[in-house]
């Protein structure tokens, strides 16, 4: 199980980071400029491809049952991590101006 956990997490994590970036406001917050419409679309496609790859990885190395379960479970955890990190970043940014 552990052997595919690392590549799986890496794939899903990058997929969700890209997915988060494909949202207009997150892109502008993180990279400082607005994405073009095409960039947004491309990022979404890239994220979807990465998720497909991770699904393939799961199913190929486990049975369909366990593979799907692992895929869904890992997506929940990685997406949660990305969401919490973005929230944490907002929180830290909010605290700074107060100190000045």
């Amino acid at each position: 199980m552990v052997s595919i956990l690392l590549p799986l997490t890496a794939l899903n994590l990058s997929a969700f980071v890209i997915f988060a970036l494909s949202s207009f406001s997150t892109y502008r917050e993180l990279l400082g400029r607005a994405p073009t419409e095409n960039t947004g679309k491309l990022l979404k496609i890239a994220a979807a491809l990465l998720l497909t790859a991770s699904l393939w990885l799961c199913v190929a190395s486990k049975s369909w049952g366990l593979g799907l379960l692992l895929w869904f479970g890992n997506m929940t955890m990685t997406a949660l991590l990305v969401a919490l990190l973005l929230t944490l970043r907002d929180e830290l940014k909010r605290k700074k101006p107060k100190r000045r």
Binding site: G73, T76, R94
Partner: protein
């Protein structure tokens, strides 16, 4: 048409959710803790903390089995069934157990178990506790209620939950746009964010757990098919799905049981590499005894048992059970297996646990969102001195009492386990009563307005943080020694307690002081009205999104 459909779904989502949310919260909370029911079990029996944990692959099988057979013949010659339990990933120790013949009016006889230490000594004196099984039973049998009534209540709540999830998907239009947005300290907006985030992120889990939850008790909720085909005889149905061996009937003449070491080579050959979970011997000292070897199937989701059967006195191989389950049986077993997660190894188990926590967050944030919105509507009148409406009073008190009360109750249960004397006769029930006392007191204080969120979360947080300390004081091991010895199975509960306690303190620090009294609320509204740089930014980006769309 479209607008009215959307409205109907919103209405349905709100009311199906709100009506059962506090019961659902209890069910979800208990279910989530049940993922660690064996860890909680072991934690609550400190007599078993030293030199007990073992691994299957390090075991001398033949010696363990022979020792067990001799021990049970000396200790429980009159038992109906003997059980030699070998270490698994859920029960990592060796136990010699037996079941008495059922007394009149009982379905099963009394179960006893003595645990074998790594040095081969026996531990027979363990404190009486329901341990983690309490949360497991609470999850679908509740407590103090007749079992059928409780299960109907749970089924009712589950059906509503399924409705709420489906309508929730329908009404959440911006399911991908808001995927990672959790904006804190923005009143109802923040609660909506955490509600959607916890629902969407674990959506596959929520759907799976709700649906399979209904399936586990489907014969009770929808009995007509079974009534029609099998005259309501559940056993006949089960026999057709999974042909289980008919239990051997005692002949009445004594007989000598074959030594388990002689059948071991045949068992290992038939098992084809699957580890043995336990060996059960029916009517052990009778001429018609039977040996059932239960094998583990760790690599599959389905909760399905394989058994090898041997004649007890001759040691002759009778056959395999559960070798080729029917497709219906497989489907059912898979759903039950998915729901209970018995197959899950630690990482997957933790993921399931966190998904359960997300479920609790989903329910809690949903009902909090509702009460915040209601309060907002009434805020003007409340500011002018009016009392909050009855509905608002009830939801707010129930929210505080249940959401903060459940972790407080669970902590009281664990504290009671160590503070009640190990010899106290009524301790088994007293522990459980103290769980409900914790919940009841929090609810009562919430309704009387004697406790606020900050106070309740602070109390709960400190109680959970105290659990590793309590364990260190009352067990032969503590968090550090458990980790050093690699006894993660026991250390895990302490670690979990630290996490829960830490999160509750964090939540308490977010609650402003005196949030429930009027002055506090006025103050809060003022703070919210003042535009912070961040809210301006958020408004800007919202505007930008609109333009973008």
């Amino acid at each position: 048409m479209k607008e009215s459909f959307f409205r109907t779904m919103t209405w349905l989502h709100t009311w199906t959710g709100l009506l059962v949310c506090w019961l659902l919260m209890l069910i979800f909370f208990a279910g989530t803790l049940s993922y660690y029911r064996y860890e909680i079990n072991l934690w609550m029996k400190p007599e078993l903390h030293t030199n007990v944990l073992q691994q299957y692959q390090d075991l001398d099988l033949a010696q363990t089995l022979v020792q067990g057979q001799t021990y049970l013949a000396d200790t429980a010659p009159g038992a109906k069934t003997w059980m030699l339990r070998l270490p698994t990933h859920r029960l990592p120790f060796v136990g010699y157990a037996w079941m008495d013949a059922p007394k009149e009016g009982e379905r099963r006889g009394k179960f006893h178990e003595h645990i074998v230490t790594t040095e081969g000594e026996m531990i027979s004196d363990v404190r009486a506790t329901k341990g983690g099984h309490f949360f497991y039973r609470l999850h679908f049998d509740l407590h103090y209620l007749p079992v059928p009534l409780a299960r109907y209540l749970v089924g009712f709540a589950t059906m509503f939950m399924l409705l709420a999830i489906i309508t929730g998907i329908v009404i959440h239009k911006r399911i991908f746009k808001d995927f990672f947005a959790l904006r804190l300290k923005k009143g109802p907006r923040s609660w909506l964010d955490s509600h959607t985030l916890s629902s969407v992120l674990a959506l596959p889990y929520h759907l799976m757990i709700t649906y399979t939850g209904l399936i586990t008790l489907m014969f009770m909720y929808m009995p007509s098919a079974m009534e029609a085909t099998y005259d309501g005889n559940r056993k006949a149905l089960q026999k057709e799905i999974t042909p289980v061996s008919t239990p051997a009937k005692p002949s009445g003449t004594p007989g000598e049981l074959v030594s388990l070491s002689t059948i071991l080579p045949s068992v290992l050959e038939q098992a084809e590499g699957k580890p043995i979970r336990d060996i059960r011997i029916q009517n052990p000292l009778d001429a018609n005894s039977q040996i059932q070897v239960v094998l583990r199937n760790d690599s599959r989701v389905a909760d399905h048992e394989y058994q090898l059967l041997y004649q007890g006195t001759s040691g002759e191989f009778i056959g395999k059970v559960g070798d080729s389950p029917s497709s219906m049986g497989k489907a059912y077993d898979t759903m039950i297996g998915l729901h209970a997660g018995r197959f899950a190894e630690p990482t997957l188990r933790f993921a399931l646990f966190l998904s359960g926590v997300l479920g609790c967050v989903m329910i809690a944030s949903g009902t909090l969102l509702w009460s915040k919105k209601l309060r907002q509507k009434q805020q003007k009148q409340i500011d002018q001195g009016a009392r909050p409406s009855l509905g608002l009073y009830i939801t707010e008190s129930l929210n505080l009492g249940v959401i903060a009360g459940l972790p407080i109750a669970a902590a009281s249960y664990l504290w009671a386990n160590r503070l009640l004397s190990a010899d106290y006769a009524g301790r088994y029930d007293a522990e459980i009563n103290l769980f409900f006392t914790g919940l009841g007191v929090t609810l009562l204080l919430a309704f009387l307005g004697r406790i606020n969120w900050r106070g309740a979360l602070l109390t709960g947080g400190l109680m959970w943080l105290g659990i590793p300390v309590l364990n260190a004081l009352t067990s032969s091991e503590n968090l550090i020694t458990n980790i050093v010895k690699g006894q993660w199975f026991i250390a895990w509960i302490d670690l979990l307690a630290l996490m829960v306690g830490g999160l509750m303190l964090l939540a308490a620090s977010y609650c402003k002081r005196k949030i429930d009294n009027k002055v506090g609320n006025k103050h809060k509204t003022k703070v919210q009205d003042a535009p912070t740089t961040n809210s301006v930014k958020a408004a800007e980006s919202a505007q930008a999104i609109k333009e973008h769309v």
